[in-house]
Symmetry: C2
Subunit: 343 residues, 2 copies
């Protein structure tokens, strides 16, 4: 008793309102809502009708409180402006939705471990049941490993950490393919425009490149290093253009390759006649660079989806074992790499 409605009180309807209208107890309403067995069909229909009539919506906070499940997953990403992270986020969201979860995002401004810690804490405070981390820096991955105890965490990106379940692309493999392709084309060696040193992706791609070169007995030239941006690729390209002996460059991503292409073009060098270029990612624009970019395709959306599946599996199936799913990138042949001609 107590708080009976005063008059034309216009609050959101609650379960009790539905119950009254349908002439049943609120528990029966709950049963209908949750698809519990043993509800007589006509009762169910009456309840459903009442729900529709009142436009009733269950209060998720109340439900979360009692079930101890928020139906929410968190994503922490580093720079969701970049194509890769954005696509992964997209894949994650898709997969989450079809698994019946909401997704809450938060992105890092800086990449120290403390920042990752903070982000995950924030998410935990919100009551997420698990989190996917898109944060492929050395520092953040180790930070993630530390906090996986409180809430299930899955990382997506790269690296061979085994402390945290992870889905990653075969960066080493991909870099090897790219480098091998260039070598097969007859280049004496392959130069490398690497990504930031503290990114796992960079490290793995560089390693794949180096290993392949060594396995082929080719000279391993010094690495140029960019920051993933076209700008940095351009600057590196200017430097490569000076070097007489470069005939092939493997770029750690497509954006840098774009900058490189432009620098080479300005230097009067033509691609692939003078210098062959291979990228990594296969962003949608890569096919429209001048010339069209030969690159390693990786399916970011799939990556995100798989990461989410892993997380949900751990959440629901009770698979506690740190798994490591790997997705292999694929060489896409276009026109930016060709037979060595010397220059």
């Amino acid at each position: 008793m107590g708080t009976e409605s005063a008059g034309t009180e216009h609050r959101q309807p609650v379960m009790a309102d539905v119950a009254k209208l349908a002439g049943v107890s609120h528990q029966t309403v709950s049963r209908v809502l949750n698809g519990a067995p043993h509800v007589r069909p006509d009762t169910r229909d009456r309840v459903l009708a009442a729900i529709r009539e009142l436009d009733y919506r269950p209060n998720s906070a109340a439900r979360a409180l009692v079930t101890r499940r928020s139906q929410t997953l968190g994503v922490v990403s580093f720079d969701s402006t970049l194509y890769g992270p954005a696509s992964m986020l997209d894949g994650i969201e898709q997969a989450a939705r079809s698994a019946g979860y909401f997704v809450s995002v938060t992105s890092l401004r800086s990449l120290d471990g403390r920042s990752v810690q903070e982000a995950v804490d924030r998410l935990r405070d919100q009551g997420v049941e698990g989190v996917v981390v898109i944060a492929p820096q050395t520092s953040s991955v180790s930070a993630v490993a530390r906090l996986s105890s409180s809430v299930p965490v899955v990382a997506v990106g790269s690296g061979n950490q085994t402390q945290v379940p992870m889905v990653s692309v075969g960066n080493r493999f991909g870099a090897g393919e790219a480098t091998g392709h260039l070598l097969d084309l007859g280049h004496r060696t392959v130069h490398h425009l690497a990504g930031p040193a503290n990114w796992l992706e960079s490290q793995d791609r560089e390693e794949g490149w180096r290993l392949t070169l060594m396995a082929a007995g080719a000279r391993v030239p010094d690495v140029e290093r960019g920051d993933w941006s076209a700008r940095s690729g351009y600057q590196a390209g200017l430097r490569f253009a000076q070097l007489r002996d470069v005939t092939a460059v493997f770029c750690a991503n497509d954006h840098m390759a774009l900058g490189l292409l432009r620098a080479l073009h300005e230097a009067g060098l033509s691609v692939p006649e003078d210098i062959s270029v291979v990228g990594f990612d296969d962003i949608p624009e890569a096919a429209y660079f001048i010339p069209p970019l030969t690159t390693m395709r990786q399916d970011f959306g799939e990556l995100g989806r798989r990461a989410l599946e892993l997380l949900v599996g751990e959440l629901e199936g009770g698979t506690p074992s740190p798994t490591h799913v790997q997705i292999h990138p694929e060489l896409v042949l276009r026109r930016s790499a060709s037979r060595a001609a010397g220059r």
Copy 2:
């Protein structure tokens, strides 16, 4: 059940646990947590110490239940893989975080009104306090207008709908600037590569272009239409290359401009000598196209931030009036547009 084991019962600490440890009532703990006045400093310290010791974290579901506030905002976006939406999302998240809100995202697969309806419903079910819609299609905007009654909604993107508060870029203005620039350069007229017909952005940019041409007494050529992708820009470019009279084209976005550039290049036409090109967006790569793209810069991040401010203002300040914030794009001069030479 994961890491739960029978012997060591180890539930998450709740407020009562903290209270007991600190030797106070749970209400005092609540007061400390919420910064209520009239708590003696040393009591506060004891409580704080207990919180730290137990690593206590307030249960957000319980709090949301009683306060009727979820501290969560929803974002529905269309294709967060694109640079624009991704950047806006980023801006939104930033702003939301600093305003003390969580952000829950959901993206649309298809763009009919029903789909928007569903997405917003989903978000409502989760208990979001407001939503930002990044969905610049004709159909979705009108759908949004319809449902703004239940939960505050702010749209971001384009259009001159007044039914829903909105922050948009001055697309018409920007298109006018771009077109005007080309005209000033001496081109008789300017061709247009437009975006999808059902996008508000497309419509506004096309209108801005058309109006400017008409105001200048220039002929208004037929429009080519793409879908924002480089691929579609390439195809349109192939067609433009056939037309003898095109000396300048204004592309509705940079990605299509990239494809256009490539098509022109293949057709043996040089930019800007034979044809001048101006884009829209100023994506980070635009400066590294061949040639560097003259384009209209718009600050997507800012757009997102402003949208969120608007929403929060409505939520907290109780400003119910549909506002319309407009951000002006800015012409960035690079090398893809030059004085008309005829061809």
